[in-house]
Symmetry: C2
Subunit: 137 residues, 2 copies
DNA sequence: TTACTTGCAAATGCTTTGCGAGCCG
DNA sequence: CGGCTCGCAAAGCATTTGCAAGTAA
């Protein structure tokens, strides 16, 4: 499990009880997928009845600013989070189940950069999402 | 200008006054960019004071269902629309000005499809957005 | 003390919807 | 008549924020 708590603490974020619990919750939930705020809130709430959803919103925003988690807006309307990983990756979303699969493809990355340059831009960020249906065998 | 009105009519959508005006507004606005619902509403309202924003929402949804316009959710929180074009393209968004530049790259398209297949999926849809800063000369 | 953090409820911004009235075939 | 369509206001949903109380340094 990625030590989200350590990253935040090392970067100077004051770690309160709520923040520690929320950090743990995200770390755990990240193992299974890309949780949204409500999912994080519900699991954190199980651990500590004193956590409010407002705090979860404030906290994920902080964690994101501190570079400890990443926010994604897939086409389902709500923000989803995951812990940062050392290697960059993109996402394939199963349109039937909502399951998210991570992948990376250097060739595509490279082509994106070249494309941006060709248009007169330096690539700052990008978003690549594939939406697919599972091939039955 | 793309005949959005004709597409809808030909496909069996009853074209009321409001729908015609909204269609014209989108066609015109599409020449300059990717308007959001409020921009469409304001311009349509100038032409006919009787148009409500609820109708604009209902209408863009209809146009989208009828395959006459496309919806995009860039990272600015609100849905933006553009008329459909025969050739597929992706978007580069200028993070300073918000300007949207269209581009297409067959090589990237191809690689996306291969990637999806490799993961066991048929590609149904995708989203590729580049966010960049203009290179100063 | 002084600055940060929190829970609660209210407010926000975008979008959808219920309803009664109007329109068209 | 019967089914769409409309404007309006109210509701929905995810997210943000003001405020007063609580906490930590």
């Amino acid at each position: 499990m990625i030590d989200l708590k350590k990253i935040c603490k090392d970067r100077g974020l004051r770690m309160t009880d709520q923040r520690n619990i929320i950090a743990d919750t995200i770390s755990e939930a990240s193992l299974e997928g890309h949780p949204d705020v409500n999912q994080i809130y519900l699991k954190a709430f199980e651990k500590d009845k004193n956590i409010s959803i407002a705090t979860v919103y404030r906290t994920v925003k902080l964690f994101e600013e501190y570079g400890a988690i990443e926010k994604h807006d897939f086409k389902d309307g709500k923000a989803r989070y995951e812990t940062v990983t050392d290697i960059h990756h993109d996402h394939l979303i199963d349109i039937d189940s909502g399951e998210v699969i991570e992948f990376s493809n250097d060739e595509i990355e490279e082509l994106q950069m070249i494309m941006a340059k060709k248009l007169g831009y330096n690539l700052v960020d990008h978003r690549l999402e594939l939406y697919g249906k599972k091939i039955k065998k």
